[in-house]
C-alpha cells in the first residue's frame, strides 16, 4: 500500500465528477457513457480499496501520511493527510463496494431523467467526499469530508428541484446537519486547546499517556467527546436531530440507498469508533449508548404505523443507526462497526428493491395501493425478503450476527439497554414484515392502468439487487462466526481499545432469545397483516400519535422555526433595525436639521438685528466680568 494508491483511490471519483459536471452538456445525449464514467470511477476506487484491504489483512502496517500542508502557521498546522488502518479499510470497502453497485443500478433507474449527467456528477462527488471523511488522518480532514457529504446529500435530496417538498427536504437536511456540525467544530477546538493538534495519532497517544488527566483533567475530554457526539447526532440522525432523514426520502431512491442508509448516515458511528480511545477515557460512551437505544426504540415505533415504503425504511435506518450507537457506546466498537457493515448491505438492498417497486408502480410509494406484487416482480420480492429477514434477525442471516453482538455487549453494560434493544428487535421484525405482507402478498390493490404496466425491472437494475442479496444474507456469517473471536474482531483488533466489560453469559442463549424475538415479530405481523390492509384512519390515540410521528416536526416548527422567523422579521428587522437604530441615526440628522433651522432664523440679513445682538453680547460679557470675577 502506498500513498499513490490512496491518491488514485480518491482522485477517480473526483475526475468522474469533473467530467460529468463540466461536460454534462455534451454527455447528455449518451446516457450509457455518462453513467458508465460515473460507475467506472467508483470501480477504480473499489479496486484500490481491495488492494489496500488485502495488503492490510496480509499484515502490512497501516498507512499514515501527509499529502500537503493546508492551513498552517507558526503556532498551528492542519494538513491534508491520510490514515488507512483496519477501520478505514472496512469503510472503504463498504463505500466503494455498495457505491459501485448503486452506480450501476442508477444507470437504469435514472434512465430518461433530464438531469442524468448532473445526477452522476453529484453521486461521484459524494463518493469523493465520503472517502475523504474516512481517509483523513485528523479531525479537520474528517470534518471536510463530513461537510462535503452533507453538501452532496443536500444536492441529491433536492435533485428534482422543481418540487417544493424536495428542496425543502434538502434544505432541512443541510441546516439540521449544520446544528450537529456546530458541535463538531467546538469539539475540535476543545481538542486542539488541549493537545495542540488535531492529528489522530498524536491526540490518541497523548490522551493515553499516564499523566494526561493530571495535566488537563478528565473534563476536557468529557466536553470534547460530547461535543463531537453532537456532530454524530446530526449526521447519523439520532434524537433530537433525526428529523431530516425521513424527509430526505424525497431524493432519488438509489441516493436513499447509498447516502441515507449505507454510508453517509453511518459517519457518526465511524467518528465515535475512530475516537474510541477518547470515549474510553472520558466514559461518555454511556450517553452515546442511551441516545442510541432510545432513538432505536422511538424510530421503530414510528415505523409501525407508516404506509409509505421509503419512510418505513427511513425510520428503520434511524432505528438501526441507534443500534450501532449502542454498540460503540457500550465499548463494543467492533460490533458497532460490524452492524454498520451488515446494515449497509441489507438496507442498501431494501432501498434498491423499493426503488424497483417504484419503478414498476409509476413512483407509487403507498403500500396500501400495492399488494400481491410477488407474482409480478419475483426477483424484487425475493431480494427484498432476504433484506427483511436479515434485518429482522432471522437465524444465520447478517443482521442476526451483528445485532446479537451488540445486544450481548449491551447486557454487560446495562440490562435496561438490552431490554429496550430487544423490544426494538421485535418491533423491527414486525414493521418489516408488515411491509412485506401488505406490499407483496395478498390481493392486488394496484390501480388498473398501473397494473397493466407492472413488470420486473430491467437487468441493469435487478442484477445489482441479486448481487447485493448475497452479502446481505451471508456477510454476517462470514465475518461474524465465532462472536468475539470472529474474523471481523481479529481484523479490527488493532484499532480499538480492549473491550472493558467482556460479554458475559451464555452466547448461545442470547442468540436463541434474539432469534425467538425476531421470529415472534414476523409471526405477529403475519397474524395482523397477511389478510388485512392497514386502515386509513388511526384507530386509537396511540395510533394517531405514532402516525403523526409524535408531532415532533410540528413542535419544532412551532417552537423554533416560526419564532425565529417572526422574531427576526418583526422584532429585529422592523423594530430594532428600522425603528430604533435607524431611528436614532435619522433622529440625529433631524435634530441637526432642526437646530440648523433655528439658528438660521438669526441669520436674518438685517444689519440692525446683528448690531442689537452684538451690543447685547458685549453687555453680557462685561456684566459677567464685573460682577462675577
Amino acid at each position: 500500500m502506498s500513498k499513490e494508491l490512496i491518491v488514485v483511490l480518491l482522485a477517480a471519483p473526483l475526475v468522474g465528477f469533473l467530467i460529468n459536471g463540466l461536460f454534462g452538456k455534451w454527455l447528455k445525449g449518451n446516457e450509457k457513457l455518462s453513467g458508465g464514467i460515473g460507475a467506472l470511477a467508483v470501480l477504480v476506487s473499489l479496486v484500490c480499496s481491495i488492494i489496500a484491504f488485502t495488503s492490510l489483512s496480509g499484515g502490512a502496517a497501516p498507512l499514515d501520511e501527509t499529502l500537503y500542508e493546508w492551513i498552517t502557521g507558526e503556532s498551528f498546522a492542519f494538513n491534508i493527510g491520510f490514515r488507512v488502518d483496519a477501520l478505514t479499510a472496512v469503510m472503504l470497502l463498504v463505500i466503494t463496494g455498495v457505491g459501485f453497485l448503486i452506480h450501476v443500478y442508477s444507470i437504469g433507474y435514472m434512465h430518461g431523467d433530464e438531469g442524468y449527467t448532473r445526477y452522476f456528477a453529484y453521486l461521484n462527488l459524494f463518493v469523493f467526499a465520503m472517502l475523504i471523511l474516512v481517509l483523513g488522518n485528523n479531525y479537520l480532514m474528517m470534518f471536510v469530508g463530513w461537510e462535503g457529504v452533507g453538501l452532496c446529500s443536500y444536492l441529491l435530496i433536492g435533485f428534482w428541484y422543481e418540487k417544493q417538498s424536495a428542496t425543502d427536504a434538502g434544505k432541512k437536511a443541510f441546516i439540521v446537519n449544520r446544528i450537529g456540525d456546530f458541535g463538531f467544530l467546538l469539539g475540535m477546538f476543545t481538542l486542539f486547546a488541549a493537545f495542540g493538534t488535531l492529528d489522530f495519532t498524536a491526540i490518541f497517544d497523548a490522551a493515553e499517556a499516564d499523566n494526561f488527566q493530571k495535566v488537563f483533567g478528565a473534563s476536557t475530554l468529557v466536553i470534547a467527546t460530547l461535543l463531537l457526539f453532537v456532530g454524530a447526532i446530526g449526521k447519523s440522525a439520532q434524537i433530537p436531530l433525526y428529523v431530516w432523514l425521513p424527509d430526505a426520502m424525497e431524493g432519488p431512491t438509489p441516493v436513499s440507498a447509498l447516502i441515507h442508509a449505507a454510508t453517509m448516515v453511518t459517519a457518526g458511528v465511524y467518528m465515535i469508533a475512530r475516537s474510541a480511545v477518547l470515549y474510553e477515557i472520558a466514559h461518555t460512551g454511556q450517553v452515546v449508548a442511551w441516545i442510541g437505544v432510545l432513538t432505536a426504540f422511538f424510530a421503530a415505533t414510528i415505523a409501525l404505523t407508516q404506509n409509505d415504503i421509503k419512510r418505513i425504511l427511513a425510520y428503520s435506518t434511524v432505528s438501526q443507526l441507534g443500534y450501532m450507537f449502542v454498540g460503540v457506546g457500550v465499548g463494543a466498537y467492533a460490533s458497532g462497526i460490524f452492524h454498520l457493515v451488515t446494515h449497509a448491505f441489507f438496507k442498501g438492498l431494501m432501498f434498491l428493491t423499493a426503488g424497483s417497486v417504484m419503478h414498476a408502480m409509476a413512483n407509487e410509494l403507498d403500500m396500501r395501493k400495492m399488494g400481491g406484487l410477488k407474482s409480478k416482480m419475483p426477483i424484487t420480492h425475493w431480494t427484498f425478503l432476504v433484506g427483511a429477514l436479515a434485518i429482522a434477525g432471522f437465524p444465520f442471516l447478517s443482521g442476526f450476527w451483528s445485532k446479537d453482538e451488540i445486544l450481548h455487549s449491551a447486557w454487560g453494560s446495562s440490562p435496561i439497554i438490552y431490554v429496550i434493544g430487544l423490544i426494538t428487535a421485535f418491533l423491527t421484525a414486525f414493521y418489516m414484515f408488515r411491509l412485506i405482507f401488505v406490499t407483496f402478498y395478498g390481493e392486488s390493490r394496484v390501480e388498473p392502468e398501473v397494473a397493466s404496466h407492472l413488470h420486473e425491472s430491467p437487468s441493469v437494475m435487478w442484477v445489482p439487487l441479486a448481487i447485493l442479496a448475497i452479502p446481505s444474507a451471508l456477510i454476517g456469517l462470514l465475518l461474524g462466526w465465532g462472536g468475539h473471536d470472529s474474523w471481523f474482531h481479529h481484523f479490527t483488533k488493532s484499532v480499538f481499545p480492549e473491550a472493558h466489560h467482556d460479554a458475559s453469559g451464555n452466547v448461545i442463549l442470547f442468540m436463541v432469545i434474539s432469534s425467538v424475538i425476531g421470529l415472534a415479530g414476523i409471526a405477529f405481523a403475519w397474524t395482523r397483516y397477511s389478510k388485512r390492509v392497514p386502515s386509513d384512519e388511526p384507530t386509537s390515540a396511540i395510533h394517531r400519535l405514532l402516525a403523526n410521528k409524535y408531532y415532533i416536526d410540528e413542535a419544532y416548527n412551532a417552537l423554533i422555526v416560526q419564532p425565529v422567523k417572526n422574531g427576526s422579521h418583526f422584532l429585529l428587522w422592523k423594530l430594532v433595525d428600522n425603528g430604533i437604530i435607524d431611528g436614532i441615526v435619522n433622529g440625529v440628522a433631524a435634530i441637526v436639521r432642526f437646530i440648523g433651522g433655528l439658528l438660521r432664523r438669526f441669520q436674518t440679513g438685517v444689519v440692525q438685528a446683528y448690531i442689537v445682538s452684538m451690543v447685547l453680547g458685549i453687555v453680557i460679557f462685561l456684566a459677567y466680568y464685573l460682577f462675577f470675577t
Binding site: G73, E74, D168, F174, I175, L185, S568
Partner: protein, 519 residues
C-alpha cells in the same frame, strides 16, 4: 516606484478618459479596461517582489517630503497585510469594469472615471505610511463613491449617498482629531513607522480611531447605512463597497487600533467582542427575512464582518491571519454575489426574491456559479470562506483572550449562514419557473469571463491557502506581538504544540523518577 505606479496608473486612466471621451463609448470602455488590467498585472509584481521573511514595510521607495514644515511626507509601502488588500483592489477593479460593460445607461465616461479614481483612492489608503497622506486618500475615496451611488444609483440614491457620506465623515472627523493628537505626541511628524506608544490619552485616541473604522466595517450598531447604500448603489458600486471599502474599517483596526494602543485595545475588548458577536447573529437573522436580494447580501456582510472583527480582537496569530484572509474572502464571495444579483437584475429589473423561482432550469450556468458562490459564503470546506472562518473561530477559542462563550455564539452563526443563504437560493433558483421569467437568457461569454477569475480564487484559497497565509504571516505576527506578550496555549514551541509537550514533559519527568527509584 512600482507601488506608486500601481497607485496612480488608474488616475492616469481618469485623465486619459477625460481627454479622449470624444472617441465614443467603446473607446472609453477599452481604455478603462486596459488601465484596470495593466494595473492588475503590474500589481502582481508586488506579490513576486514582496519579501515574506520580514514584517517591515516594503516596495515603497524612499519617502518624499511633501509639506516639510508640517512633517508631512509622501511615504508609502506595504506589508503582508496591505499587500493582499492592494491585490484585492487591483483584481476587483477590472472585474467591475467588465461587469459594467453594458449596464451604464448614461454618462459612461463619468462612470469609468469615478471607478478608476476610486481605485487610486483605495490603493492610497492601503499603502500610506504617513497619517496625513492616509487621511487625504481616505477622504478622497468618498468623492467618487458619492458620485457612483448618487448619479448611477436607484430611486432613493440621494438619501442613501448622503447617509453614507455623512456617516463616514462623522467617523473621519473623530479620526482626524486622533491623527492630530498623535502628530503632536510624535515630535510633529505624521510618519506611521516612527510612531511608538504608549501615548497620552490612549483610551480616547483608540476610540477616536475605532469609531471611524467601526462605522466603515460596519460594526453593529453602526451598520444601518450599509443596506441603504447597497440597495441604491449600482452593481459595481456594491461590489467595490462590499469588496474593498468595508475592508478599510478592518484594515484600520489592524493597522492603527491594535498595534498603536494595545492597552486600550485590551480594555475595550469586552465591549467590542460582544458587538462583533451580536453583529454575526443579528446580521444573519435580519438577512434571513429580507425580501430584497441586495439587502440580504448587505446584512450578510454585517454578519461576515462580525467574524473579522472577532478574529482581530482574538489577538492571536490564527485569529488575525484568519481575519485578514477573511477580508479577501469576503471581497471575493460577496463581490461575486453582488455581481450575480446584478446579472439577474439586468435581465429582470427586479431584485425581489418573490419575483424569481425555478431559474435553475432556464439558467444552468448561472445556477452553478451562484451555487458555488453561495457555498463559499456559507463556509463550506474546500472553498475559501471556510479557511478564514475556521481560523478565526479556532484562534478565538484556543487563545482565550475573551470568554469562550462568545466563540460558541459566533460558531452558531455558521448555522444561520446556511439558513439564510440556502433559503434564498431555494426561493430564487428552485421550484417552478414563472411565466415572466421564461425568457431570461443564461450567462453570456462576457459574464462568464467576469465570474471565472472569482471562482478560481474561491477554490484556490479553499484548497491551497498557503501562498496567501505565508505572505502575511510575519506582518500579522508583528501586530500580535505588539498587542499580546505571552504565548497562548496550543502554540508551537520549537515545533511541538505546547499542550502536548506539557503532557510529554511530565511523562519523561515521571519516567526518570521511576528509574531513579528502581536504581
Amino acid at each position: 516606484m512600482l507601488l506608486s505606479t500601481v497607485i496612480f496608473l488608474p488616475l492616469l486612466g481618469v485623465i486619459a478618459i477625460a481627454l479622449l471621451r470624444g472617441l465614443g463609448e467603446s473607446a472609453i470602455k477599452g481604455i478603462a479596461l486596459a488601465i484596470g488590467l495593466i494595473t492588475f498585472v503590474i500589481s502582481l509584481g508586488l506579490y513576486t517582489g514582496f519579501n515574506a521573511d520580514t514584517a517591515t514595510f516594503q516596495l515603497g521607495g524612499t519617502p518624499i517630503e511633501w509639506v516639510s514644515g508640517l512633517g508631512i511626507s509622501y511615504h508609502i509601502g506595504i506589508d503582508g497585510i496591505s499587500l493582499w488588500l492592494v491585490l484585492l483592489t487591483t483584481f476587483l477593479t477590472p472585474v467591475c469594469i467588465l461587469a459594467a460593460w453594458n449596464s451604464v445607461e448614461k454618462g459612461l465616461s463619468g462612470f469609468m472615471m469615478s471607478l478608476l479614481a476610486l481605485e487610486t483612492g483605495m490603493l492610497g489608503v492601503f499603502c500610506s505610511l504617513d497619517l496625513f497622506l492616509f487621511f487625504v486618500f481616505w477622504e478622497s475615496m468618498l468623492i467618487p463613491m458619492y458620485f457612483l451611488i448618487g448619479i448611477w444609483g436607484g430611486e432613493r440614491r440621494i438619501y442613501a449617498t448622503v447617509k453614507f457620506v455623512l456617516y463616514t465623515m462623522a467617523g473621519s472627523a473623530l479620526m482626524l482629531v486622533g491623527i492630530l493628537a498623535l502628530y503632536f505626541q510624535n515630535d510633529n511628524s505624521f510618519d506611521l513607522t516612527t510612531l511608538s506608544g504608549p501615548f497620552e490619552h490612549s483610551d480616547l485616541l483608540f476610540l477616536a480611531f475605532f469609531v471611524a473604522f467601526a462605522i466603515k466595517v460596519p460594526l453593529f450598531p453602526f451598520h444601518t447605512w450599509l443596506p441603504d447604500a447597497h440597495v441604491e448603489a449600482p452593481t459595481v458600486g456594491s461590489v467595490i463597497l462590499a469588496g474593498v471599502l468595508l475592508k478599510m474599517g478592518t484594515y484600520g483596526i489592524i493597522r492603527f487600533c491594535l498595534p498603536l494602543f494595545p492597552d486600550a485595545a485590551e480594555k475595550f475588548t469586552p465591549l467590542i467582542v460582544p458587538l462583533a458577536v451580536i453583529g454575526i447573529i443579528y446580521g444573519a437573522l435580519v438577512a434571513m427575512v429580507q425580501p430584497d436580494l441586495k439587502k440580504l447580501v448587505a446584512y450578510s456582510s454585517v454578519s461576515h464582518l462580525g467574524f473579522v472583527v472577532l478574529g482581530l480582537f482574538s489577538k492571536n496569530p490564527a485569529g488575525l491571519q484568519g481575519s485578514v484572509l477573511q477580508m479577501i474572502n469576503h471581497g471575493l464571495s460577496t463581490g461575486a454575489l453582488f455581481l450575480l444579483v446584478g446579472m439577474i437584475y439586468e435581465r429582470r429589473h427586479s431584485r425581489m426574491i418573490v419575483d424569481f423561482g425555478g431559474l435553475s432550469k432556464r439558467m444552468p450556468i448561472f445556477a452553478t456559479v451562484f451555487m458555488i458562490v453561495t457555498l463559499s459564503s456559507i463556509g463550506l470546506p474546500g472553498l475559501n470562506g471556510f479557511v478564514g472562518e475556521y481560523m478565526i473561530l479556532f484562534g478565538s477559542f484556543v487563545q482565550g483572550a475573551f470568554s469562550k462563550v462568545y466563540v460558541v455564539f459566533a460558531t452558531a452563526g455558521v448555522i444561520l449562514a446556511a439558513v439564510y443563504m440556502l433559503w434564498m437560493f431555494q426561493r430564487v433558483m428552485f421550484g417552478t419557473l414563472d411565466k415572466t421569467n421564461e425568457n431570461l437568457p443564461d450567462l453570456n461569454a462576457r459574464e462568464i469571463v467576469v465570474m471565472l477569475p472569482l471562482l478560481l480564487f474561491i477554490v484556490w484559497i479553499g484548497v491551497y491557502p498557503k501562498p496567501f497565509l505565508n505572505k502575511m504571516e510575519k506582518s500579522v505576527g508583528l501586530v500580535v506581538t505588539k498587542v499580546q506578550a505571552t504565548p497562548a496555549m496550543g502554540q508551537l514551541e520549537n515545533g511541538v504544540p505546547v499542550g502536548t509537550k506539557l503532557a510529554l514533559r511530565e511523562t519523561e519527568h515521571e519516567k526518570s523518577e521511576k528509574e531513579a527509584q528502581t536504581k
